[in-house]
């Protein structure tokens, strides 16, 4: 799993690639959670993620809760069909705004 972070305007764009499972989830959490600041806007580009385990889903929800607590916003972009379906079936998708592309994601956060 790899994580790249960049800023586009006010938005922190986090690109994740690889699998997020119990082996990589702690690392993802360690790198991503500190990005959450008061009123921060985070775009999570997941187009490079092929599989997310239960632990991976929990990293996402932890982010959501932290961001919500600090009045920020989060958008998930580029979810693969299977991941999106898994998130929907397990209820995790309910928490998130999703968009197909980074541009649409940026728009949703603006």
């Amino acid at each position: 799993m790899e994580i790249n972070v960049k800023s586009i305007g006010q938005v922190t764009v986090v690109e994740i690639s690889g699998d997020i499972d119990s082996n990589t989830a702690p690392q993802a959490q360690e790198q991503v959670l500190p990005l959450v600041q008061p009123e921060s806007k985070i775009l999570l580009d997941m187009s490079g993620v092929e599989y997310m385990s239960s632990a991976g889903l929990r990293v996402l929800l932890s982010m959501y809760r932290q961001i919500a607590r600090q009045n920020g916003g989060i958008v998930l972009v580029g979810l693969g069909e299977e991941i999106k379906d898994t998130m929907s079936v397990t209820g995790f998708l309910n928490f998130f705004t999703t968009r197909d592309t980074v541009d649409e994601g940026l728009q949703a956060l603006s």
Partner: protein
């Protein structure tokens, strides 16, 4: 604020590469904790215990860690293993102890045993996938994530008298190709069908067993048809704390816990409660010839009811009987139900063969069974509905006398039997019908009508469509020479056994279906309908379809179109019940006028108003509910008049007079062709002749006075 590090995150022992420390005895099972997993298991008779760890789906263990003696407190072995991959491991136990069947001991350290408290169980992750019978560990404990984000959800606490229960099989509900869902046969698919349930109007779904079971238990090939027969219903539990993985679209990812919780949350959001059919009377281990999965190898003498010779009592009809009133087992059952209520937000439980739960460890019925009392007074379960199937396979029949502690309701088998007989025109039933329609005060006089779960059909026995199409069961497809399944069906085929083109017979059958649901929905108590009855689902006369994972038992959604009139009838019957509080009293009717309305709360009638025919040859009964008595006079409702004519000829019924200014309107008339057989509540047309009403042969009429 920075926290000070706990000191119990540090290992004190090692075993090979594994770092350990003494665990906590409670909670039982495998629990995630900082840096590791706490494993805890009890056995009264084991001398040693070994934790067996696997990498997920591997054939050989990756480690076997004997519990150091100092890790045992009392009869509980508890250990923390640090650095485990929560998602990547499976665990089990080996136990050493005496092998002495006469004394009830069957320890076998060659077997790897499933944790009775396992919250996730792997091994049958996708339904019907070929099993590797050489696998040394068939049903594998896994570590649960139990941190689901429920938001503001909690059990709905719908008043019992307002419930309308829909009994469904998770897989059968959407497995049929016509269901049109994405993940057919799963929890996720039920979520897709929530709009259907809402349109029908039910506010509670009761799921047939969803605890992990093995669909391949006693699987066999039918000698003539070659059909693979499975344990489709699942009334045989491998573990009591884990949802069936193969019922989840995400079972292959071990996400069944989250998927089921998401379903329950969504059902709650739509005003629908969730009941579970729970089977604590026996386990999947069968008798002495069955497999050793868990309980038998952990503490056979404690978990099972045994004869003096050490054989298994068989009050369940399935080979063994769980020893529910052994104090340790009792605690497990309580822990289990608390877990489902607290962690899954379950609204109610229906207990399969519940009379077994009232037997002592030697099988004798107890007058004050501690388990039933515990469940009735438990603080976590205190708003859960508790429903007993108040009989067992050992001959105990307790309908009306199940120890209730003011909390337990019952599947009212006497309601089912009386309505069925009355429907087919048997004589001598009007007296009993009066009791059943009032919520069976003869059975539940101090418990109230909500103790009575009224049903005409359930998973056991004919579907409603088959009840009016077959005189005899037709269970040949079960491969037991038609010997299985009940023989006392009280069914009537309306003149021809099975499907027919005869329009007269088909019209009568359709009317009988409507008569049945109309009576069910105007009865005091809690109505329950069986999945698919609203669209005339058939099992081709099979009254025991437990082994058929096929179109025989699945709900065929094309029937929704072909039987649209019946669906509409069901829907409006349910809507009518929901609108009229006078049909949903919490306390029994008194047959008196106690609000000075000039009418008793319920009054009885025949072809002449105020003159019911209670004679032994009578096949008709009419009753009027006084709207001013609804909810003990606290709610104002319309007057309701119901006529049931199960005689084969039409009869003119004189109508009782209403208070000045009110008139009778027709809600239901089952002889009338659709759409005039039933009207949406509020749109009932005026009855032209307010003095009398011609009630057709074998018909039910419901009038509203307003």
């Amino acid at each position: 604020m920075e926290r000070i590090e706990r000191i119990d995150i540090h290992p004190t022992h090692t075993h090979g590469e594994f770092k350990l420390r003494a665990g906590r005895p409670l909670p039982f099972g495998a629990t995630q904790m900082e840096g590791g997993v706490n494993f805890s298991i009890s056995s009264r008779h084991a001398s040693t215990c070994t934790l067996v760890l696997f990498k997920k789906r591997q054939s050989e263990p990756m480690a076997e860690i004997p519990f150091p003696d100092e890790f045992r407190i009392g009869n509980v072995f508890a250990i923390v293993v640090f650095g485990l991959d929560y998602e990547g491991i499976e665990y089990g136990f080996r136990m050493e102890g005496p092998y002495d069947p006469r004394e009830g001991h069957r320890f076998d350290p060659t077997k790897i045993l499933l944790d009775p408290y396992a919250k996730v169980i792997g091994g049958r992750d996708a339904w019907g996938t070929e099993v590797n019978w050489n696998d040394i560990y068939q049903h594998r404990g896994r570590i649960v994530f139990d941190d689901f984000d429920w938001g503001s959800d909690r059990p709905l606490e719908i008043p019992t008298e307002d419930l309308i229960i829909y009994e469904a099989h998770v897989r059968g509900f959407t497995r049929h190709a016509s269901s049109g869902v994405k993940h057919s046969g799963t929890f996720a698919a039920i979520r897709e069908k929530i709009p259907y349930l809402k349109e029908l109007g039910v506010n509670c779904i009761e799921l047939m067993p969803i605890f992990e079971f093995d669909e391949f238990e006693n699987s066999r090939t039918h000698p003539e048809t070659g059909e693979l027969l499975l344990n489709y219903w699942g009334y045989s539990q491998v573990g009591f704390f884990a949802p069936k993985a193969a019922y989840a679209a995400t079972g292959k990812f071990s996400m069944q816990v989250d998927e089921l919780k998401a379903l329950i949350q969504d059902l709650h959001n739509n005003g629908i409660e969730v009941f579970l059919d729970v089977v604590f009377n026996h386990t999947a281990e069968g008798n002495e010839n069955g497999p050793t999965i868990s309980f038998r190898g952990i503490d056979n003498q404690s978990y099972y009811m045994l004869t003096k010779e050490g054989y298994y009592y068989n009050f369940s009809g399935t080979g063994n009987t769980l020893n529910c009133n052994n104090p340790m087992v009792r605690n497990m059952v309580l822990d289990c139900l608390r877990y489902w209520a607290a962690e899954y937000h379950i609204d109610g439980f229906r207990f399969d063969l519940a009379s077994i739960l009232g037997r002592d460890p030697w099988g004798a019925p107890l007058s004050n069974p501690p388990l039933l009392e515990n469940l009735a007074f438990d603080p976590i379960l205190s708003k859960c509905k508790l429903i007993a199937e108040a009989w067992d396979a050992g001959g105990l029949y307790q309908v009306g006398s199940f120890p209730s502690y003011g909390r337990w309701a019952e599947w009212n088998g006497k309601y089912r039997d009386a309505i069925r007989k009355f429907l087919k025109g048997d004589m001598g039933l009007v007296g009993e019908m009066a009791q059943r329609i009032q919520g069976s005060p003869d059975l539940y006089w101090w418990r109230g009508p909500t103790a009575s779960i009224n049903f005409i059909t359930a998973h056991d026995g004919f579907t409603l469509a088959d009840l009016v199409s077959y005189n005899q069961k037709h269970n040949e497809a079960n491969g037991e020479n038609n010997n299985d399944g009940g023989n006392d069906n009280d069914s009537w085929n309306c003149g021809w056994e099975g499907p027919t083109d005869d329009p007269e017979i088909n019209t009568l059958r359709c009317r009988q279906l409507k008569n049945a649901v109309a009576i069910l929905m105007v009865s005091q108590g809690v109505p329950m309908i069986l999945m698919g009855d609203e669209i005339a689902r058939t099992q081709q006369g099979n009254n025991n379809a437990y082994c058929h994972d096929s179109e025989l038992s699945w709900m065929d959604w094309t029937l929704l179109k072909s039987n649209a009139d019946l669906f509409r009838f069901f829907k409006n019957c349910i809507a009518f019940r929901k609108v009229h509080a006078v049909l949903r009293n919490r306390t029994h009717l008194r047959n008196q006028d106690y609000v000075e309305s000039g009418y008793p709360d319920i009054s009885w009638h025949g072809v002449r108003a105020w003159q019911p025919d209670w004679s032994g040859t009578s096949r008709t009964l009419a009753f009027m509910l006084c709207g001013k008595h609804a909810n003990n006079g606290k709610t104002q409702d319309n007057y309701i008049y119901v006529v049931m004519n199960m005689y084969w000829e039409a009869q003119m019924f004189e109508l009782p007079g209403l208070p000045p200014g009110m008139q009778w309107h027709v809600s239901t008339n089952t002889i009338a062709p659709p759409p005039e057989d039933i009207w949406e509540p509020g749109r009932e047309p005026l009855v032209k002749d307010q003095q009398q009403f011609l009630v057709g042969p074998r018909s039910v009429v419901v009038l509203v006075g307003k």
